[in-house]
Symmetry: C2
Subunit: 419 residues, 2 copies
Amino acid sequence: MSESKKVIVFGADGYIGWPMAMHLSRLGHQVVAVDNLARRSWDLEGGTYSLIPIASMETRVSRWKELTGREIVWRKLDLCDAGSLDALMSEFLPDAVIHLGEQRSAPFSMISRDHAVRTQVNNIVGNLNLLFAIHSIVPECHLIKLGSMGEYGAPNIDIEEGYITIEHNGRSDTLPFPKVPHSFYHLSKVADSQNIHFASRVWGTRATDLNQGVVYGVHTEDTALHPDLMTRFDFDSIWGTALNRFCVQAAVGQPLTVYGKGGQTRGYLDIRDTMACITLTLDNPPEIGECRVFNQFTEQFSINDLAALVASTRKRMGLQTEISHVANPRVEAEEHYYNAKHTALLDLGLQPHYLSDTLVSSVISTVERFKDRVDPILLQMPSVTWRSGGNEIWDKYANIDEFKSAGDDLLRLIDSSTR
Amino acid sequence: MSESKKVIVFGADGYIGWPMAMHLSRLGHQVVAVDNLARRSWDLEGGTYSLIPIASMETRVSRWKELTGREIVWRKLDLCDAGSLDALMSEFLPDAVIHLGEQRSAPFSMISRDHAVRTQVNNIVGNLNLLFAIHSIVPECHLIKLGSMGEYGAPNIDIEEGYITIEHNGRSDTLPFPKVPHSFYHLSKVADSQNIHFASRVWGTRATDLNQGVVYGVHTEDTALHPDLMTRFDFDSIWGTALNRFCVQAAVGQPLTVYGKGGQTRGYLDIRDTMACITLTLDNPPEIGECRVFNQFTEQFSINDLAALVASTRKRMGLQTEISHVANPRVEAEEHYYNAKHTALLDLGLQPHYLSDTLVSSVISTVERFKDRVDPILLQMPSVTWRSGGNEIWDKYANIDEFKSAGDDLLRLIDSSTR
């Protein structure tokens, strides 16, 4: 394997963060897992929960040590707390930081003004603090930042990896690819990307901005070792992806709800490929002052493709599935051109897993196993509407006593099941 | 004249905001002048001050009423206070809002992490709050937002007005012009522009984003009426433009300090043209859902052009001027292509004033008149350095007792002279 590095994973309590911390630990890196546990508090705030029960960070790192003999250092810390961040960076002097520590739900950011502001302030300030800490404490540290393919939107031209060479009036320049993002959340990522690009130009920060597609899958080599090591699976309309929602809807016998015409096309990848992409990025750092952008996904699908794939995969497993189209709560093109480049990570050696195999091998069977834990009220809750800002709908559902008590019951259940 | 509109000017205590409020009031609009007075508190914090003494907002609006019979409603309010903003918007139901209420200094944003974070949070949150207030309270209100030409940076292709049509791999789309901004301040404006563009797409907000060049000039028709109506003139390295610094350096017999080679080229305009541009924008609102971008400047100059122009203008007035080149504290190209389009406002009828005339008619004579108020320590203070984040230099100067007491004396002088 490659040389052992000191790596801090920010957002290590999240869906990707926790498997990432284990993956790097398994590879022999010295891993510090950092999180402010905001994701769990947002669950408590909104009555949402992971379908797969998840253990506390303390339980996770201790189980990991017990099973593998490897140590992951766990630190509760908020990236918005600059003083604590500087102290951590000075203590560990990381070779690389993997920044997954952001509010990452587009619908969450569209619930209300408060949610939009919280999302942008949390994400932009945390990222700025990290840029300043790298600049002043470990200027050669490699910043690996998780961006989103949703930063680009759905332009009518091919999406390049971060930059595009534009010929205009007889002159030419290579400039950041223009962005037309999908939500206040995606806008926060665009602001992050701009700040990182600036830091690389002015301070020589070495950075890789990973514009990631939609991630699916429930298992990595490491999460499968023990129930305490599993990562979260979200299926509600705020935190769950359309694919997760479809799998859960099918499991409980509801029709798959496609928003609008269903032609919305995006890039997707398996969570095991996320592990591989970030590891390849870590092993192949950019030069000082280079702000590299990779588009991190392996396949493109429309929402209709996903619904059809879930239905046909379940059919082969002897399970019935219906598909219905509902009014689209988002403002987005439902039929559009979409062709995004994603060769940089393949060039570094990525060997993709494909969705059709993963659906069969793990997602559908896992969801079937946990289907008794699905709260039908949560599953039926309509998504935040982009047009209204969503206040009314969300408030209505968040205040239903039945909904709240069901959420509380489930949180207790989750808690007890992981102890 | 055109119909009378209800207009709120945010940032009405600033260099442009106060003349803007008077200009619109003179034209018969119903004007509410809003500011949180942050600019005055930043002066107190850093020991800077306006060369031209400025009156309090209360004195200004009362003098304006006395001299013209017209009423400007003054409200102290912070755009980051969403509740108070909503109350104001509900009370006045404006036809248009002119948003000048942001931290607007690039060097200020580069002093330290704290200054970068304060700049981005203040500007982004204030603008988001305004977008939400318009959306929920006055959805047909025209948002006129002051952006900056510095959002674009200095690309090697012609800069278009907000959008560029890109032909790529046989397809074409018109997308936001790619931006490579100059500072954390300019990055905050880029984030604002992205948020506004999103609001127009999703909510139908009608907006004009004015990417303004560097503004110069000390007088408008209204500021010249009475000393209490004058607007600020900054000459220090944090708040003053290079042109202002040159005029003051020349007045006190110091050489003009050009940063680096001096080929840095930007767009410029007279403050009277700012009045005209914003008025033309107000009189010609965009459609619902349209996010219009105008590049608001009239002439391009390099720093060397400005220094030479100040020297030659003073020479014609019988005054001597020296020019020297100093190490550039910023990270920027010092020789580069620069050609920015600016036809939209000319098409609406703008009649530009030109710098060479304005320098003679008002700036140099005004600076000469107030030159005894120039604190040489403040004038000599080196600017914030882009590479270091600037902490050390700024802290050093901000803590010199002599500097502080000189600043305090001048603030008292300013205060007494305007009463």
